[in-house]
């Protein structure tokens, strides 16, 4: 039953993407074609795409490891929950807003350079170029990596830490033998996700890249579809992007197989290795560094936003409409995303459980896993344009726009929701599946008494992830943009495009606050009840 539903969902996703591609391919433009696909230009941007994405991923992960570890070891300092929330924020930020926030800190007139020039440095340090791209990508992805790693470390059974303490394992030994194996197991998934996000980065790469030498394949896709209106070329470039990145991720997966999920005892976790003076100092330094890197651009956004005429801004009908549109789209796409992710993870598990059937179920499960992540590589603009063509015969396309935008947003959030839900669902199933089956608890009762209480927290996290992502999204909406479907980021861009920078700053602040509210929702219940008294 569930397998059928999962297969249906998988088929739906593949069909959604495939139909869009087919529709675009069928669109014969009559244009002479923009020359051969794999010319020197495409080769160059492909190389750059892979280079910057690899470096970005590497740096984001390198930074995330000590941050995740510090958060795991220092489990009860005041404000810890706010650090977690801060780490969830960048996801919901439109790229343009992030770029300008980052400039306030790292730019030629930014905080860093003002400090440096006060210290006597004459020429400002310029980040435009690869370094700017890397800073922006670390800002976006280090927090994501740290949170996913933290979740992994927190799934380690509580007894391990007691055993480590009892055996007298040093901080380094604990990392090497206990934490690192867990992190290493998570790396293919995390690195893959970040690599895809960086490879498809567009606005950040162009704005901070310093020149067209810094272009990604995504730029060429956009160019092919928008300026040249050459859909077959856009499809070919998308295929190139999917194939190259996909191959790279497969290699990654081959070298670092997925982790064996430990069964946790559900016991409250307490660490004994973060109490020493040196560990505590190191953890503090990393946490302060993380808060600075992630928090300062937000502080800058908040500061600029607070100078806007917020009262007027929030009382404008245009704002109300945009808020309602954004909220509805985000809510519905997050619901769909979470539902599909949960269904597909369950199907994946069921398919893999039938060992005797051999290759077919494994292939099926693999396809499900791949489709939930590779979807990120399909540019939303391609999906949007494809569906525009498909829906054209059925009347005014603008009428279908909300549904298409919701679908695209739901799909784009899928990889994130999958990363959040899959381990939690595996642990939950290991804990309850047999018991529930033996007691004959099924259907609604199982959901109400067993699944919902056990999975409520990760479901909320996934949901808030998906909502934040979709709230900050511009890509899917832009193509369909009509007076009736103005979202908050769209409104922000349009203010920005009409010299109204103060309004745009105000809207950026509001968007940031909305994301904060969502992360508060998502991290509700993250505060652990103290196991004993705090020391």
């Amino acid at each position: 039953m569930t397998i059928a539903a999962g297969a249906f969902a998988l088929g739906g996703i593949l069909l959604f993407v495939g139909l869009a591609g087919a529709a675009l391919l069928a669109q014969s433009t009559g244009s002479a074609g923009a020359g051969p696909l794999f010319d020197a230009y495409v080769w160059r941007i492909t190389r750059f795409t892979l280079l910057q994405a690899s470096l970005s991923t590497f740096l984001a992960i390198l930074f995330a490891i000590p941050v995740a570890r510090a958060l795991a070891r220092q489990a009860s300092f005041p404000g810890r929950i706010w650090v977690l929330r801060l780490l969830a924020l960048p996801l919901g930020l439109p790229a343009l807003v992030a770029a300008l926030g980052l400039i306030e800190i790292w730019g030629r007139q930014g905080l860093l350079n003002r400090v440096l020039s006060a210290a006597g440095l004459e020429q400002p340090v310029s980040i435009y170029g690869l370094s700017g791209i890397l800073i922006a990508h670390v800002f976006f992805n280090m927090p994501l990596a740290a949170r996913l790693m933290l979740a992994g470390i927190e799934r380690i059974p509580a007894e391990y830490w007691r055993t480590c303490a009892n055996l007298g394992m040093s901080s380094f030994a604990t990392f090497r033998f206990i934490e690192w194996p867990v992190i290493r197991g998570l790396l293919p998934g995390i690195a893959g996700l970040i690599f895809m996000l960086c490879a498809t980065s567009f606005t950040l790469v162009l704005t901070l890249g310093g020149g067209p030498a810094a272009s990604t394949i995504e730029v060429a896709i956009y160019q092919a579809l928008r300026f040249d209106f050459d859909p077959p070329r856009a499809i070919a470039l998308s295929a190139l992007q999917v194939a190259l990145t996909g191959a790279l991720l497969l290699i990654l997966k081959f070298f670092a197989p997925a982790p064996r999920e430990g069964e946790t005892s559900g016991r409250a976790i307490r660490r004994f290795d973060g109490a020493g003076g040196l560990s505590r100092l190191a953890d503090r330094i990393w946490l302060v560094l993380a808060v600075i890197v992630v928090g300062l651009p937000f502080a800058a956004i908040a500061y600029r936003g607070s100078k806007a005429d917020l009262v007027r801004l929030v009382s404008e009908p245009a704002f109300h409409r945009a808020l309602a549109t954004s909220a509805t789209i985000a809510l519905v796409s997050a619901m769909i995303s979470v539902a599909i992710a949960a269904l597909m993870i369950r199907t994946e598990r069921l398919a893999l459980a039938q060992r005797r059937h051999g290759v077919a179920p494994r292939l099926f499960a693999g396809t499900i896993g791949a489709s939930t992540s590779f979807i990120l590589l399909v540019p939303p603009v391609v999906l949007g344009a494809g569906w525009f063509l498909l829906l054209r015969p059925f009347g005014d396309v603008a009428r279908f726009a909300p549904a298409v935008v919701v679908a695209i947003n739901a799909l784009m959030a899928l990889p994130f929701v999958h990363r959040v839900l899959a381990p939690a669902m595996a642990t939950h199933a290991a804990r309850t599946a047999r018991l529930a089956a033996s007691l004959g608890i099924g259907g609604f009762h199982r959901l109400r008494w067993i699944d919902w209480p056990g999975l409520r927290k990760p479901l909320f996290v996934g949901f808030s992830f998906a909502m934040a992502l979709s709230l900050g999204d511009l890509g899917a909406v832009a193509l369909f943009g009509s007076e009736d479907m103005v979202t908050l980021p769209y409104l922000l861009y349009s203010r920005m495009g009409s010299y109204r920078t103060a309004d745009a700053a105000g809207l950026a602040l509001i968007l940031g606050l909305l994301c904060l509210v969502l992360t508060v929702l998502g991290t509700a219940g993250e505060e652990r009840p103290p196991e004993g008294k705090s020391t």
Binding site: A5, A34, Y41, R44, L100, I103, E104, G107, R108, Q109, Q123, Y128, T203, L206, T207, L208, G209, G210, G211, P212, A213, S215, V219, Y222, Q223, R226, F227, F229, T325, T328, I329, L331, V332, M335, I336, A339, A385, F388, R392, A398, R399, P402, A403, V406, G443, F444, R446, D451, A478, L479, S482, E483, D484, Y493, S494, M496, G497, S498, Y499, T501
Partner: protein, 342 residues
């Protein structure tokens, strides 16, 4: 997850989806409607859209419906995607660079209007597209950061590389393409070398005007590629003369915004009336302080004082649309090669 819950969830989703679909269903249409496709900033609260609609509706006993997309380029993409099924009666907001491509789609019908009153620098006349406003591209600079702005494109190209400029990408934006054509007009076959020199002065190349102007107003660079009319906004709306356009001795490249009626306009007569209205004093008087572009015919009252302070280019460049369409790819390649060189 159990399948019974699934059905429930899906049911609820369907209802939710239906309710958002309801957003997009436009309000009850009046007897006669004129559907105008335009770019988004035309129809924002502060844009000309609402005033234009109000004024035109008084003359026609009809209702003006706008559909706004991101920008002029998106407008053409949208039309190509919609094909013959488009409900557009009027398309307003393409620029002259797109005219040849737009004509090639075969969606547009000759206007048949008298455009004798239309005056744009350099002159532009077409049987299908009618200009409604124009602006010149210009390097806008921050007077507080730059005391000695370049006086020509040559000075910009050869000037002090530590004085940076932010430009837009010709692959993704109209102003970016504008600068590309401007350099081409001035330098011709040696445009590549000019770009290679200018490269050191370019702080970064942004995907669109918004990012570039945002960086500029944050003080990241003292210069940005924008329009001669940009200072007017700061003078009128913000009461500051801090940001000024630099007049260039060689002349400036022009951007002319045009409109046309489509072949499948529901009421061609109404659409033609709109085009005539568009070059009349009512419409033209709305444009300067809402769209921040120059009018193409006489306005009812003189332009605000700020406009008299704007740069008035002595020479205007405009490469014919057909030539742009034919050579754009080669020119962009030339730009890419020069700008990517180390």
């Amino acid at each position: 997850m159990s399948s019974s819950l699934h059905r429930k969830v899906l049911g609820r989703l369907a209802i939710a989806a239906a309710s958002i679909a309801a957003f997009s269903v436009s309000a009850a249409a009046a007897e006669k409607t004129l559907t105008v496709y335009t770019y988004e900033s035309f129809i924002t609260e502060w844009g000309p859209g609402a005033k234009v609609a109000e004024a035109f509706e008084k003359t026609c006993d009809c209702k003006v419906d706008y559909v706004g997309v991101a920008d002029g380029v998106e407008l053409l993409t949208r039309l190509k995607l919609e094909g013959q099924g488009s409900k557009a009666d009027i398309v307003l907001g393409l620029d002259t660079n797109l005219v040849a491509e737009a004509k090639a789609t075969g969606f547009f019908a000759p206007h048949g209007a008298d455009t004798a009153s239309v005056k744009v620098p350099g002159g532009f006349s077409d049987d299908t597209f009618i200009p409604y406003d124009y602006g010149h591209f210009a390097v806008v600079y921050d007077t507080e950061a730059l005391k000695d702005p370049p006086k020509s494109l040559k000075e910009l190209v050869e000037g002090d590389p530590s004085q940076k400029i932010v430009i837009e990408d010709p692959r993704t934006s109209t102003p970016g393409l504008g600068l590309l054509l401007w350099v081409k007009s001035v330098y011709g076959d040696s445009a590549g070398e000019a770009w290679a020199k200018l490269k050191d002065r370019v702080l970064t190349v942004t995907p669109g005007w918004s990012e570039a102007y945002g960086l500029f107003t944050k003080g990241e660079a003292p210069m940005v590629l924008s329009y001669t009319t940009s200072p007017a906004y700061h003078m009128v709306a913000e009461n500051t003369e801090r940001y000024q356009a630099a007049p260039f001795a060689e002349g400036h490249y022009i951007q002319i915004e045009v409109a046309a009626l489509t072949k499948n306009a529901k009421d061609p007569e109404l659409a033609r009336n709109f085009l005539t209205f568009m070059i009349g004093p009512e419409f033209q008087s709305i444009i300067p302080t809402t769209n921040w572009m120059m009018p193409v015919t006489a306005t009812k009252e003189p332009l605000p004082e700020a406009f008299s302070k704007l740069v008035d280019p002595q020479k205007t460049f405009l490469i014919p649309s057909e030539e742009v369409a034919a050579s754009r790819k080669a020119w962009i390649d030339e730009w890419l090669a020069a700008m990517s060189r180390n």
